[in-house]
């Protein structure tokens, strides 16, 4: 049976049977029903509520309601000093704390106009790329579980644990690090850190391939995600999508390349963009594919950083941290490539105070999630779960 077309309202469906007969079904629409999905629904990845108006199993409209995890980040920032904001940034995107810290610190450093020691830059890039892999592992693992595959989830969390151990070793915490500070990092990397990270890279590389074979090429998984929730490139740009979401729509846009910061210009890595052979460009599978392929690129970056990182005996990573952080009057918009996209901070300083006048966080998932309403229109209810999962939201960052 082949579907030839259906009307916008789903009231008419035209199909061709196997014996070439064409059937036209009329008046298929049912009475609309309001279905509230969340805030405690496991597939909403936290406390997101979707109010779905459904026509049978088809979604007429899905309106997201947020704010359940709103912790007044921006209001708090007006009351605390610049360095004290770093732990708050951890708690926004708690799956990628290092990346959030990095984005905030490079923004304030732009305003302060200070030079960072080279070794610190490499430590920052290594930790944030490790964190990117950890974050993508959670994204992939939970996405698999949303679609009914349990095994990849366990594989992902097993491997993520190694990264958590490495980051705990360097910073003292598993998830909320407060490690990257304005002008430096909290502690120097331990003596054997390089060796252990290199070991992890050799351990993880075949595991990433295994995960790819297990999940990404799995036929059931592909059937659930291919062609679902397609977002054309121009609309994605208009929605200001970023990160794997935008790259999934076929736009080669990565802030590490397009607006380089830290030591990324020196490093050699690719920006994976789906070519439409395996997935339909812009669908859920493309977005998943970008994440799956990006882990390998992160491994490449880490390897190069390990080679290039200068060794210094008795290195003090806090050497250039200003005693009192009081930037000159001005404003800045700084950003970095997070696992979920562009995390930006808009900071205004009045030049007198040690507290920012305004610190706005441009959260990547908040912006990505805004397209939910348009993405879900006319999709089936089970596909809604696939779409939310592919957006890879962290509600801590959405609600701030």
């Amino acid at each position: 049976m082949q579907e030839l077309g259906k009307a916008e309202s789903n009231s008419i469906r035209i199909t061709r049977q196997d014996d070439q007969r064409v059937t036209i079904e009329k008046d298929l629409d049912t009475e609309h029903m309001v279905l509230s999905m969340g805030p405690q629904h496991p597939s909403t990845h936290g406390v997101l509520r979707l109010e779905c108006i459904t026509d049978g199993e088809v979604i007429v409209e899905a309106e997201p309601y947020l704010g359940y995890l709103h912790r007044c980040f921006e209001k708090h920032c007006e009351k605390i000093d610049y360095p004290a904001i770093v732990p708050y940034t951890d708690r926004m995107d708690y799956l990628a704390g290092m990346n959030s810290e990095l984005a905030y610190c490079i923004t304030v450093e732009k305003l302060l106009d200070i030079e960072i020691p080279r070794r610190v830059e490499f430590i920052r890039v290594i930790t944030s790329e490790l964190n990117r892999i950890a974050s993508h592992l959670v994204a992939i693992g939970t996405y698999a579980i949303d679609l009914g595959a349990f095994t990849p989830f366990l594989f992902c969390f097993r491997d993520r644990e190694h990264i958590m151990n490495l980051l705990e070793w360097i910073s003292g915490a598993r998830m909320l690090y407060n490690y990257i500070w304005i002008g430096g990092v909290a502690y120097d990397a331990p003596a054997d850190f390089k060796k252990r990270v290199a070991e992890f890279v050799t351990y993880f590389r075949p595991k990433a391939v295994e995960l790819y074979k297990l999940l990404t090429e799995n036929e059931i998984f592909v059937k659930r995600t291919k062609g679902i929730g397609i977002m054309p490139a121009d609309v994605a740009i208009n929605f200001a999508w970023s990160g794997p979401m935008l790259r999934g729509s076929g736009v080669k846009w990565d802030l590490r390349r397009n607006d380089p910061y830290s030591v990324y210009p020196e490093l050699d890595f690719d920006v994976p963009v789906p070519d439409g052979k395996f997935s339909d460009v812009g669908d859920c599978l493309s977005r998943h594919l970008v994440r799956a392929l990006e882990m390998e690129e992160s491994l490449k970056i880490i390897e190069q950083c390990l080679d290039k990182m200068p060794e210094q005996q008795g290195f003090d990573p806090r050497a250039v941290i200003p005693k009192k952080i009081r930037p000159k009057a001005g404003e800045v918009y700084g950003r970095a490539e997070n696992p979920r996209g562009e995390l930006g901070y808009y900071i205004v300083s009045d030049g007198k105070s040690t507290k920012p006048v305004r610190c706005k966080a441009r959260s990547s998932c908040f912006v990505n999630l805004a397209a939910m309403k348009d993405l879900s229109k006319g999709q089936l209810l089970p596909d809604l779960v696939a779409i939310i999962g592919s957006i890879d939201i962290v509600l801590g960052e959405v609600d701030r």
């Binding site: 947020l66 704010g67 709103h70 007044c72 921006e74 209001k75 007006e78 732009k110 305003l111 121009d234 609309v235 740009i237 208009n238 929605f239 200001a240 736009v251 846009w253 397009n258 001005g330 404003e331 800045v332 918009y333 700084g334 950003r335 562009e342 930006g344 808009y346 205004v348 305004r358 706005k360 441009r362 908040f366 912006v367 805004a370 397209a371 348009d374 609600d399 701030r400």
Partner: protein, 173 residues
């Protein structure tokens, strides 16, 4: 003037070139260019023309500001004004970026909505309304987004006083 131009970094000069095109078209509706090295910007002085300027910035083939990275609400208590700051840039042909400021008066002020120009502005404007209380004219769905719907006051205003109780729960701690 030439000396000032020499001191600008290449990125700021790109923004200046983009600004000059906008200035040529809209004249006094936009302010002078501020060559802030970390975030070059200009201000829209004629608020009513903000949507025209936004459309021109998005669609002009020499500008193509198709990507709105961020829209932040702002409070300017000393000027008695509220405002928004939009960070715009181009994905594709050019690499220029520029910030635009739009201000309105503090009490009952309104700014035209640009959510029809950049879809992403929809939620950003809802957030700015939620936190600062300026109205975005022509916004399709202007409701609070992060705070509860029945919250009183606009939390990010500098003179914000938190309400005593909310549904019988003591709020200040």
């Amino acid at each position: 003037m030439e000396e000032a131009a020499n001191q600008m970094s290449p990125a700021v000069l790109e923004s200046k070139a983009a600004y000059d095109i906008i200035r040529e078209r809209f004249g006094d509706a936009v302010s002078e260019f501020d060559a802030n090295p970390t975030m070059p910007f200009f201000e829209v002085l004629d608020v009513d023309r903000w949507v025209d300027i936004a459309l021109y910035m998005r669609d002009n083939s020499l500008l193509q500001f198709n990507y709105m990275a961020c829209l932040s609400g702002m409070d300017y208590p000393e000027e008695e004004k509220l405002g928004i700051v939009c960070n715009l840039e181009c994905i594709g042909k050019y690499a220029h970026k520029i910030a635009v400021k739009v201000k309105c008066k503090r009490d009952g002020g309104s700014i035209p909505s640009v959510s029809c120009v950049w879809h992403t502005a929809n939620w950003h404007e809802r957030e700015a309304y939620d936190m600062y209380g300026m109205v975005f004219e022509g916004h399709p769905d202007l409701r609070r987004i992060l705070c509860p719907e029945d919250w009183t006051g606009y939390p990010l205003r500098k003179d914000y006083q938190v309400q005593e109780t909310y549904h019988g729960i003591k709020v200040p701690y």
